[in-house]
């Protein structure tokens, strides 16, 4: 029993670390930092400036919070999909499927590092917000904010896992990723109040992760305590779990199909 746990832990850890290294092995450290630190800052600046232009007000906290939390979608969408499909491209998928490893653990291991990475991305987003964009956290319960960010990162990564598995079936991984990322940018309400959307757009917004997390984040920053956002948070978390479950089912289905048809290598 203890031994199984140890094996699973190693499996989890190896999958996590390896998928992360594999993803970034072609990057130099300097470009890694550039892509992780400055890339998101520039996105954020663009939308915050656009928001300031729209509202004519220098208080941009609405946009700063929205875009800071949106940061988790970088790792949550791009990172996770690439780590799942990465195998596919390298032709190593048969080894993953062939190993007697617990599939769920392999699956979660792949996502784990990206959740941490996404979390740090949001922290960095808030850091830029405070230092460069005048965000004020004096009313904010930081532990509550930390929890909001964690849950939102997990749920957004859940969507990433589902996409990653969908991507195993298409050649246009980047097209799907990009569209979903930009779709989130619009629908999750990082830059707009979702309540102003027409009904059909709101239904999309509330079927996505991130939307409720951003709302909860804004409330917490404004001074709300955890109990006031518990409804938003639990629903956000539930959505995350649903997406993860869907992704996992799809992953297993793909594995079965692939083995049956012998198409592990080619889609």
């Amino acid at each position: 029993m203890l031994n199984t746990a140890r094996i699973n832990l190693r499996l989890f850890w190896d999958g996590a670390v390896l998928s992360y290294i594999a993803l970034f092995r072609w990057l130099r450290p300097s470009t890694y930092i550039a892509s992780k630190v400055f890339g998101p800052l520039v996105y954020m600046l663009f939308f915050v400036l656009l928001g300031r232009y729209a509202t004519g007000s220098s208080d941009a906290s609405f946009f700063v919070i929205g875009n800071a939390i949106q940061m988790c979608a970088w790792s949550g969408i791009y990172g996770i999909t690439m780590s799942i499909t990465g195998d596919h491209w390298d032709g190593t998928l048969p080894y993953v499927f062939g190993a007697p490893a617990n599939r769920l653990i392999v699956f979660l291991g792949r996502a784990f590092i990206h959740v941490i990475d996404g979390y740090l991305g949001v922290v960095l987003g808030f850091f830029w917000g405070i230092t460069l964009l005048g965000l004020d956290l004096s009313q904010t319960s930081l532990p509550a904010l930390a929890l909001v960010v964690l849950i939102t990162t997990i749920s957004t990564s859940g969507l990433g896992m589902l996409l990653g598995c969908l991507s195993l079936m298409t050649r246009n991984v980047m097209f799907v990723n990009n569209t979903v990322f930009f779709g989130l940018l619009l629908f999750a309400g990082a830059n707009v109040d979702v309540a102003t959307f027409p009904g059909w757009m709101q239904s999309i917004s509330y079927a996505l992760p991130l939307t409720r997390g951003i709302q909860a984040g804004r409330a917490i920053v404004a001074g709300a305590d955890l109990s006031q956002v518990s409804g938003l948070l639990s629903t956000e978390f539930l959505f995350g779990l649903i997406y993860i479950a869907l992704g996992y089912v799809l992953f297993r289905w793909f594995e079965k199909q692939a083995k049956r048809r012998g198409t592990l290598e080619a889609v």
């Binding site: 990057l27 130099r28 300097s30 470009t31 550039a34 892509s35 400055f38 890339g39 520039v42 996105y43 600046l45 663009f46 400036l49 656009l50 928001g51 300031r52 232009y53 729209a54 246009n172 980047m174 097209f175 990009n178 569209t179 930009f182 779709g183 940018l185 619009l186 830059n191 707009v192 102003t196 959307f197």
Partner: protein, 265 residues
Amino acid sequence: MTLKTIKAYARAVAITFEITLRQNFSDAFIIFAVIVQPMIIAILALWMLRDIGGDIGIFVIVGSGLTGLWSGLLFISGNSITGERWVGTLEGLVASPTPMAVIVFGKNLANVFQSLASMIASYIAVALLFDLRITIEQPWLFAASLLVTVVAFICFGLIMAGLFVINPAFAQFQNGLEFPIYILAGFLFPIAMLPGWTTPISYVLAPYWAAVALHGSATGSVPPAEIGFAWLMMLVFSLVYVLASGRIFRIVLRKARVDATLSMQ
């Protein structure tokens, strides 16, 4: 250069244009960059800016269109040479008697031309979702501005393609150049929103002058003389880019022949 060579180059440009367009049509990445992304940006920006009123409809269409034009230039034209390297055709092109600059020019012509789809996509998105008056105040000036913009972007693309070959970590640089130009060129909000020290940077960017001319002529907010000045700036930059690109290509290709990077191992 003899007339015969000029004719041969013109033919090479024409067929490169045709071949590039046909290849790009089935490229999902390109479709995203010049259609989907500008559409989403247009919807988002208009949702944010709709209370400003006035000519905001056409402003957002032109601005989002410009983002597509720029992203297309950055990711498609920027990869004109490196892309050929990936598929292994670069050696064949370099060894042909047609200079690389002529080939890249033809490719950029196709890319920029097709990136204009971003304007149409933005228009469609805005017209479908919002009930706004959309008119171009000075259609002739606008059309001429678009033409000058295309020229400037093509020429900009020439040096970009060369520079991205020099830098091995080009992909990261590319990603990092997309939004800064959206910001610095004033595509969707005036550069007056930015701190003063960035203004000189905007002034040396052809996309900034493109935005001045296109926004100005579309909304009628800028006097024709200023639009003319923006044209002049774009044309001057284009000349500089073209002259520089000849040199950059020579350096790049020589370096590739020394470093054995014309093909991938």
